[in-house]
């Protein structure tokens, strides 16, 4: 930790700044944007899973709330997209807090179970409420504009999301190396030890769960506006698993691992498309090999190999 950790941030910013000028065409730009969106979500999720040691299997559900808030509220009720995005995030935060409080009072890790259920309920809800959400076919999302300026081209979106990602990396690094972050890591390391030094464990778990859910919701809204269309797949259980896999492959409790995990797992399905029909098998094989040889995830394993440490 410490100053060295922030060095990576400059690399991230440099890469993000150069990327649009070296990418050959808009397809790659689109992939880069999706990678960056996933990276922000995975950063939030890694704070919860990697740093605080609490597993959520329903994060795509929160993503879905944000995405559908941005689709439904402006379309059916004429809300301003920014207001819809904030409303989605607020609703997600509230829901996360209401669900998490009683769960964290229980001993043991019941969050995985509860979020699994919650995620499935949310994805069923958007599939079934067809009069609002368009059901399984999904629905179009109005464009996002602010102060008379409309975010329409991919280039615009790229810069907005690149800035979001850079700020998220910076904020995550800050958070980890702060009294709040230390308490979070301590309750993962030893819950009883953190309690006796005065950490209100339930409050901290709820706070980080709400924070990561709100991250997901906001990025769900961003995805919806960027793509211009939402489908229930966004809120799907498999998408939740995909996000958790990004955390695990990249490296638990590693900020840069989150980025690497998001980049690799967003790119991999595209790269494997040539396998035609066998891509899921290849995907699974790669994940298995990663877990066998790099059980701590890519970044932490490589960092300790080269004697650096994150």
């Amino acid at each position: 930790m410490h100053k060295r950790a922030y060095f990576g941030l400059y690399i991230v910013i440099a890469v993000l700044a150069v990327l649009p000028f070296v990418l050959p065409n808009s397809f790659y730009l689109d992939v880069a944007i999706r990678m960056a969106i996933n990276a922000v979500i995975v950063l939030g999720l890694n704070l919860l899973i990697g740093f605080a040691g609490q597993i959520s299997l329903g994060h795509a559900g929160f993503l879905g709330i944000g995405a559908y808030a941005s689709a439904v509220l402006p379309t059916h009720f004429g809300w301003h997209p920014l207001l819809a995005m904030i409303a989605g995030a607020a609703a997600t935060g509230l829901l996360a807090a209401v669900v998490a409080r009683p769960i964290f009072k229980l001993k043991g890790n019941y969050l995985a179970m509860a979020t699994l259920g919650l995620g499935i309920i949310l994805s069923i809800a958007v599939r079934n409420e067809a009069q609002w959400t368009g059901g399984p076919d999904g629905m179009p999302v109005p464009a996002f504009g602010l102060f008379g300026f409309e975010l329409s081209s991919d280039k615009h979106w790229y810069w907005v999301i690149a800035i979001l990602l850079s700020v998220s990396v910076w904020a995550s690094l800050n958070l980890i190396d702060s009294p709040f972050g230390r308490a979070l890591r301590a309750l993962h390391g030893s819950e009883v030890a953190s309690r006796v030094v005065g950490v209100d464990v339930v409050r901290y778990k709820v706070a980080i769960f709400v924070l990561s859910a709100v991250f997901a919701s906001l990025m769900g809204s961003v995805t919806a506006h960027y793509v211009g269309f939402v489908t229930p797949n966004l809120a799907d259980f498999f998408h939740s698993i995909e996000l958790v896999t990004m955390v695990v492959i990249g490296g638990m409790a590693s900020v840069y691992g989150s980025l690497i995990g998001a980049v690799l797992l967003t790119a991999l399905p595209q790269a494997l498309a040539t396998f035609e029909g066998w891509e899921t098998v290849a995907f699974g094989m790669i994940l298995m090999i990663c877990m066998i040889f790099l059980p701590k995830g890519l970044v932490p394993t490589l960092a300790s190999k080269f004697g650096k440490g994150d």
Partner: protein
């Protein structure tokens, strides 16, 4: 008035009466030891007083305030610190961060300020890092200031727990077998360390099996057996007590 006053404290786990109607009081500034055979309820007693367990019945007063059944973080606020018999070190953190966590309640824990890395927070953190390094020196861990917790030997981790507890600036510290598993040389060092802690004005409550250390350090001793108070008094009094001799030697005196 006593700093800590425990009266008729009991806890039952199903049918097991782990601690039964134990009463004692501890004056400020002394070293108070709790001894007894394995399974006598010493750690359970610690867990009750530090809020890890809630008592089935009985009262605990700290400085006149009833604290029975309060949560560990509420007790931490009132200056109660402890270490653990089975190490509770956060292996996912560096050694010095483990100590810094001890100062949790003395810091600004605001999430937003933390995410924005406000100068007031980083300044305080830098100060704290200095304080923590100082505490590590105090417990004899100066060479581990830059170390990762998971790279430290067992004996050093025992002291790291003490440093973390001291970072709370407690009034009362519970040390649960600080010398367990240590070699004779390390045991003597911990003996000196406990003395230093007591001399700094912190009231020490000690659970320890090393009798030499207990007799050497303690102002008063409480003897537990099968969850009940067997005897209480100075080292000399306890040593002469026939019940204590019977419990330890297994004789029917």
């Amino acid at each position: 008035m006593a700093l800590l006053d425990v009266s008729k404290l009991s806890i039952h786990f199903g049918g097991v009466k782990a601690v039964q109607e134990v009463s004692f009081s501890i004056d400020a500034g002394i070293v108070y030891s709790v001894i007894g055979p394995n399974g006598a309820g010493k750690t359970t007693l610690f867990n009750l007083i530090t809020g890890v367990y809630k008592p089935t019945s009985g009262e605990i007063h700290l400085d006149g305030e009833s604290i029975g059944g309060k949560s560990p973080d509420e007790l931490a606020r009132r200056g109660v610190a402890r270490t653990f018999q089975n190490l509770q070190i956060c292996m996912n953190m560096s050694a010095i961060e483990n100590v810094m966590v001890g100062a949790h309640l003395r810091l600004d824990r605001n999430l937003i300020k933390a995410a924005l890395r406000l100068p007031s927070l980083t300044r305080r953190d830098a100060e704290l890092r200095g304080e923590a390094a100082e505490l590590m020196r105090f417990v004899g861990l100066e060479k581990y200031v830059e170390a990762r917790a998971d790279a430290m030997p067992y004996g050093a981790l025992k002291r790291l727990e003490i440093a973390r507890a001291l970072a709370m600036k407690p009034r009362l510290i519970f040390l649960d077998e600080p010398a367990a598993g240590l070699n004779p040389k390390e045991t003597i060092e911990v003996d000196h360390l406990v003395r230093k802690v007591a001399d700094s004005g912190i009231t020490v409550v000690l659970v320890e099996h090393d009798m030499k250390m207990v007799m050497n350090l303690s102002d008063r001793i409480l003897v537990l057996d099968y969850g009940k108070k067997l005897a209480e008094g100075t080292g000399a009094e306890v040593r002469k007590n026939p019940d204590v001799i019977a419990a330890y030697l297994g004789a029917h005196a």
